[in-house]
């Protein structure tokens, strides 16, 4: 546990020696702010419609999918390029501790940035009467945390395959786009032909967030889904590091 924390805390601190966290925080606030404003305009035009936190969390989730690759690609690819991976792999820490430490460092950064966006639910809470519905707020942010964990785990695993950060970035973004957007249209095409859509639907990243969590329903299956994606990816990352030793 101590080893994981050493890796994670250093990784977290290291982000702040750069402009990455500030840039991401700015983009988060800007984009979500624009959506927030537009949604409030719609509310003005449709009296009686009370906006929920979904108008904040849905764009936040999309932003996470697009921005997480920028956070994860360096985690292992950079160590491999600098040769510092040799230091980590000859230090008395286990490979899985390294991977989990890297993941936790990335997750802490993303969660710090997500925390910045809490300002919008607070504003919304002031605007609507009698305040926002707590259920979707809690389950929605739980969904965001689970989603972040899974995205970063996938990113760490992909980063472990590369020593070139740009290649790692593009590969991570590609995988995210497939999981987030492309599985839905595939399902629509395959569905009428009698294909096995249940598996595709199960794999669909966005479905698990939108169907229940965003509406205030915490379904164990969705939680298990994100946690298992996280665990599987961290496992793949560990194997990838172990394989690297043998080459």
């Amino acid at each position: 546990m101590r080893n994981i924390w050493i890796i994670a805390s250093r990784e977290y601190k290291r982000y702040f020696s750069d402009w990455i966290p500030y840039t991401i925080a700015f983009v988060f606030l800007l984009v979500i702010g624009i959506f927030f404003y537009l949604n409030l305009q719609v509310v003005m035009l449709q009296p009686g419609y009370i906006p929920s936190v979904e108008i904040i969390i849905a764009p936040l989730a999309t932003m996470l999918v697009l921005i997480t690759p920028a956070v994860t690609t360096r985690l292992l690819a950079e160590e491999q390029r600098l040769g510092t991976i040799e230091l980590l792999l000859t230090a008395p820490i286990r490979d899985w501790e390294l991977i989990v430490g890297k993941w936790l460092g990335g997750l802490l950064l993303i969660l710090s940035l997500v925390a910045v966006t809490l300002i919008y639910p607070l504003i919304l809470n002031q605007l609507v009467q009698p305040g926002i519905d707590q259920g979707p707020f809690i389950s929605g942010y739980l969904g965001i945390i689970l989603l972040s964990g899974a995205l970063i785990a996938i990113g760490v695993a992909i980063s472990s395959f590369f020593s070139n950060q740009i290649a790692a970035f593009v590969a991570t973004l590609g995988v995210f786009i497939v999981l987030w957007w492309i599985l839905d249209p595939i399902m629509r095409v395959v569905g009428p032909t009698g294909g096995n859509i249940e598996l595709i639907q199960y794999l669909n990243f966005s479905d698990h967030l939108y169907a229940n969590l965003l509406r205030g329903i915490i379904d164990v299956r969705d939680v298990v889904y994100y946690l298992s994606i996280t665990a599987l990816s961290l496992f793949i990352g560990t194997i990838s590091v172990e394989v690297r030793r043998w080459r």
């Binding site: 510092t84 792999l89 000859t90 008395p92 030793r245 080459r247």
Partner: protein, 325 residues
Amino acid sequence: MIRVERLTKDYGPNRALNDVSFHADEGEIIGFLGPNGAGKTTTMRILSGYMPPNSGIARVAGFDVIDQSIEVRRRVGYLPETVPLYPDMTVFDYLKYMADLRQVGDVEDRVYDVIEKMRIDDRSESFIASLSKGLRQRVGLAQALIHDPQVLILDEPTIGLDPAQIIEVRNLIRELGKQRTVLLSTHILSEAQQVCNRVLIINKGKLVAEDTPDQLRSRLTGSQRIQLKVGVDSDGVEGILADIEGVGRITLEGSGNLEFETIPGFDPRPQVAKVIVNAGYDLLEMSQTGMSLEDIFLELTREEPEPPKVADDTLDYVSVEESDA
């Protein structure tokens, strides 16, 4: 302290290490000598716990590098050939991180300790990116020493340093080797000669020789080379020499200079002197030139189509000015 038995390592179809066995005791400085690509780095990576061998046994301080890798890593300080540093960290932060990873007790004390030992105290707040090659090497060494390891593995520790820095690092290694086992690789022979108690010569993944630098020289050079200088009028000396027991091949070098090799087991020098003087020649000089480690090394690794370039020390480094940037 280090025990290696029949170690073999393949990279795909290429055999990098072939049945290598050796051992090193406490307080010994072992020099690993060989041309580039001979398997030095591979051996060191196996001993540092970075990669497992395909077969064979490697033990450090009694722990197996595969089954007890973590225990091995706790006891080994390792400086890879490409000194692994984070350019965007300060020297102090970097060493502190390494100390944390190595589970050192008093982290800050230990960091100050190695910073002082490596004489980088005035640069401890500098970013690593701004350091000269020599300073980076010292930071790398500091990293390897941070947990006060029993075994120190240094891959080409003096490469890229200027002559003054090289002397400094060698003295440091000698100092460190007093209480530790040091395994260092080099392709500079005089370095091995100066620093190491024992030299292992490795070529194409195989151990070709192992001994103390002096023993290695005398063992491999059963014959000595003797240089002679006789007066300008030296016609016929060759003929007289050739009849003396123990004199081998003779080379004429012109204007009274000759060189001959002795046959192992004989020292014909007294006889040579007598015979030359009695024959009426002036004997101006006679000196023995032992074969250098360079010669031995080339001898041992000669079967390569293009012999590895074993340059003098002076060609091996480019002096780097300490940057003040």
